[in-house]
Symmetry: C2
Subunit: 278 residues, 2 copies
């Protein structure tokens, strides 16, 4: 089976390595001639090109571009495709993508592999990136069952655990566990930087250790990704942020009122609840 | 030199192991007969007792009880002490401790080793716990210089890096990097638990991975410690929480207004600022 990949970065590159090892024939497209060359040298693709026309004969295509480029890429790609070709993407937000592409291509199924590393680019590509990781597919009522089944088989061959849900459920779920943490964590760093007493600020910088390191990690990550989360998952993210502010206000209120019993109860609840997420 | 330790848990036990390896003679006191037995067996102390009177001949004493027991312990201890004995504690909040004990004992110096593990109790005690870790001492203007120097020498012998600051500066600094993260992190878990759509909640629980794990870690920790932070460092913690709420509101405002340029700028600032803490 011939599989196309558009965008040969960490995710696209790792998909190529893994799919080729499962005997799929992989056709890779990148905007960069150099990346195409690396893709061939590193075994990411059997054939590579800067032209989308390379994918004309493929049966399934993974769009692995940044979030903002997914819809324009599909629009450019469509004229070259066979009508039965399955299209999917790997974007971390699904509702706007699925809403825009479904009217253009009935064999489109939104996807989101929950895998990654701190690195980016084709040189970071690795096999086993998807092994044991959740991979969400968001078919709609109008999606042909056969297309969904075919794509699910490919995804399972990566070693991923496949979950099916609606684009809206996906976006609300990732708003909680992936997007909200970025902004609560970034707010922590931003707040600390507002310390006006330089003795305290310098001392805080010297004393920060594992607690601060972990809590601030995702807030100190790629700014571009954070903006994309806000831009494409704005509604679900704001919903989570508003609830977060309420939960924070509750904590502040207990501390202001010196209601230590209530504070202990809420901290016992959060301790117990965390294990249900991990 | 004879050193006393009251409270033989993770910190007290590790202090005992380390100090004995540096040829100090260690006298340990625990409320529990069993812990005293373990302390002798594991090499935490040369002598151990449930009676504070054991410490009558020691030259320096580390109070390693939980925060709430430090002041009462010192009050009970004082009648047994030689006037030149140096007293110190290892509590994570300094202002209320220093304010209460300084009038009772002039050779008291507040202390805070920034070291720990997820475990508790004497069985978790380990050598090298303090190696390379910051250890803050908070002498006041009234503290005899000789006492501070003697204590600093003992602390340096643990391999720690000693910092001197006022109790107030200490409390504000740890409010930022140690106490605030507990409440921002606990609020994250609490907010997620408010999801009323069970499909979304279950999906979020299945999809949570490293970002959620790190950001929620300290919020899912020991509730007792969180309450102690609120109770003993209430003023500095509230000061940090109020600033945090402002920083969070700023992020929310940018997302509501779709001001992506400002959002990107703030995320670039937090990315750059984080490295100054770690």
């Amino acid at each position: 089976m011939k599989i196309g990949i558009v965008g040969l970065g960490l995710i696209g590159g790792s998909l190529g390595l893994e799919l080729r090892s499962r005997s799929y024939e992989v056709f890779g497209v990148s905007r960069s001639e150099e990346t195409c060359q690396v893709a061939l040298e590193c075994g990411v693709a059997d054939r590579a090109s800067t032209e989308l026309a390379l994918l004309a004969s493929t049966e399934a295509i993974f769009i692995c571009t940044p979030l903002g480029a997914i819809i324009p890429t599909v629009q450019q790609l469509i004229p070259s495709l066979m009508p039965e070709t399955i299209l999917t993407d790997v974007g971390s937000v699904k509702t706007p993508i699925v809403e825009a592409i479904t009217p253009l291509w009935s064999n489109f199924i939104g996807g989101h592999p929950m895998a990654g590393t701190a690195q980016q680019g084709i040189h970071a590509a690795q096999r086993d990136l998807f092994a044991g990781a959740p991979y969400i597919l968001t078919p709609t009522e109008a999606t042909p069952t056969e297309a969904t089944q075919k794509l699910a088989e490919i995804v399972k061959s990566l070693g991923s655990t496949v979950y099916f849900c609606s684009p809206q459920h996906h976006d609300r779920a990732v708003a909680w566990i992936s997007h909200l943490p970025v902004f609560t964590s970034a707010s922590l760093i931003a707040a600390c930087c507002h310390e006006t007493d330089s003795t305290v600020l310098k001392l805080a910088q010297k004393l920060a250790s594992s607690g601060f390191r972990d809590t601030s990690r995702v807030g100190g990550g790629n700014p571009e990704l954070g903006v994309m989360m806000g831009r494409y998952n704005r509604q679900a993210l704001l919903r989570s942020l508003f609830q977060y502010r309420q939960s924070l206000d509750q904590m502040i209120e207990y501390i202001e009122e010196e209601n230590w019993l209530a504070l202990r109860q809420i901290l016992e609840t959060t301790k117990a609840a965390r294990s249900q997420f991990l």
